[in-house]
Symmetry: C2
Subunit: 332 residues, 2 copies
């Protein structure tokens, strides 16, 4: 920067100002500086700048997996919402593990982000402490934690899934099964199973049928295998709710291969409104959860929260509920 300053015949402070908008600087000077920058091929060193200004421009975002179009959509929404703010996302993958989340939170905090976004409301004790003492805005998204750290953007997976059970009940289905992952690592998956059970109970259906198959995230193939198991174990089953659209699609394909008519012999429903559920043949009934919106709303909230911190006025804790809805399609 000193080289640039010398070339342009100004002080480094003026160069610094020229590179930041909103500073008072003469047009001619700015042009001269820009020419010098171009000439010398100078690129601002933001790491030095953030040390001094205490603004890194980072936002840490932890999602379970990048290979899941739901979270990818959320990341895109977040990214779009932060476009033009100069805030940059530091993305981390927890691989559905809260232990890995803890490690990631610490390594992220070392970068001094201006806010942290985590997926879900379940953390290790130490992880939670990190979040609470970080001194920056924290957003938990995708779930509705009973005891949020601070801000929340999401919806109740259980409630949404319960709605799906009720929808199927109204359509006349009674022997409804649930296909999900084996472990409880995926809290959203566990929540959906809970919703299934609640829904069944609410409709007075005593007999629940749950097939657990594979560790999250459940793939298409595993959805197919789970369906095989399901019809072997409970041949009388009339409908299968899958923990996500991917597994639902796998189940649908398996039905096609086995010659099981959808929905007359067996109905299939998914979760998440992935593109595949609308494009599949038959198309798949699902719960649309507006992943992009979760990300976008989180981004918008972050902007306000960070602005608040910068001006010294922290904003109050917010809980933003995103909407969801059963989307009826050909498969039920």
């Amino acid at each position: 920067m000193m080289d640039v300053a010398r070339t342009a015949g100004v002080s480094t402070m003026t160069v610094s100002r020229a590179l930041k908008d909103g500073s008072s600087i003469a047009d001619a000077t700015r042009k001269r500086i820009m020419r010098a920058i171009d000439e010398l091929g100078y690129v601002l060193d933001q790491s030095a700048g953030s040390l001094s200004s205490k603004r890194t421009g980072f936002v840490a975002v932890l999602i379970p997996s990048i290979n899941n179009s739901n979270f990818a959509d959320t990341a895109r929404g977040l990214s779009d919402a932060l476009e033009g703010t100069g805030l940059q996302i530091l993305l981390g993958y927890t691989d559905y593990s809260i232990e890995k989340e803890e490690t990631l939170i610490e390594s992220m905090l070392r970068r001094r982000p201006e806010a942290v976004v985590v997926t879900g409301g379940k953390h290790t004790p130490k992880g939670r402490r990190f979040l609470e003492n970080a001194g920056i805005p924290v957003v938990e998204m995708w779930d509705l934690p009973t005891k949020p750290v601070r801000h929340v953007v999401g919806f109740s997976n259980a409630e949404a899934e319960e709605g799906l059970v009720k929808f199927l009940y109204k359509k006349g289905y009674r022997k409804i099964a649930f296909i999900g992952g084996t472990t409880n690592r995926d809290t959203r998956g566990a929540d959906r199973r809970l919703g299934y059970e609640r829904g069944m109970a609410a409709m007075g259906l005593k007999e629940t049928r749950v097939i657990s198959f594979g560790t999250p995230p459940i793939t298409m193939k595993q959805g197919g295998e789970a369906l095989s198991k399901l019809v072997d174990v409970w041949p009388e089953v009339e409908a299968a709710i899958c923990v996500s659209d991917l597994s639902a699609f796998g189940a649908v394909t398996e039905c096609l291969r086995r010659g099981l008519a959808i929905p007359s012999r067996i109905a299939i429903a998914g979760f998440g409104d992935f593109e595949i559920s609308s494009c599949s043949f038959p198309s798949i009934t699902t719960v649309g959860v507006n992943c992009y919106q979760i990300g976008y709303q989180t981004g918008a909230l972050l902007k306000r929260a960070i602005e608040g911190e910068r001006s010294g006025k922290s904003i109050a804790a917010e809980t933003i509920l995103t909407d969801y809805a059963v989307i009826p399609r050909e498969s039920t």
Copy 2:
């Protein structure tokens, strides 16, 4: 850090050493320091550290889109390869635009990454200059640029697609069409079209049939619409090669809806070996390109390159070819 040092009764330098492995420090001292850190809830400030050590631990990675499982897989491969190295990925989305890429490169360079990875070999002049003068290892992945900036990890999309045309030819198909995006923003898509044309020419098939539909990335739905258009315009068509598996799946679904038998009435092929191509019914013939491997190899290369820079010995430019293969399935 001074607080920690005082609490543990050592100097800040010793605290700094305790937090870095590979430094000589007495076990008792390290434990004492760790206790102080825990007690005070101290979190290392890496931005200050990188300013001093000139090692940010960042790697900038630019991909066209996060909502594409191919690139998501590559990102995962990269992430896995860098696991445990302390290198953190700064991910950016170019949205298939080299102008946006240019902007991103500059804003990434301001963070002083230790290496840059870009997708594809086409850049704006300024973007290319940034890469050339960055003074850090540069990797272009997914394509084989004619004039690489430095390292390359990828394969020839054209060659791969040409192989697919030849495969279909051997199977007896002659009237082969190509379904892709309208613009040339997606250089890999353009490359694949080129491969289609070359393949047709090589097989002595004069009549090419190309349907352009939508801007990249082409969705499933657009694949279906493109297929409709295709059979309207050229009812005699025997096979359709789609620019990616997503559009191929859309085309397959559209065929099912229209009652066009696959592959007897029309054969469908995709590109990329997405999970959906193997799970779909009928399953879809595609070109497996090992996206994860591209990412993983890139990561491994980065480790060596960065290690080289740190020890003052830059490694020579490398070009790593990843493999691909036609995967025959039910749809052809």
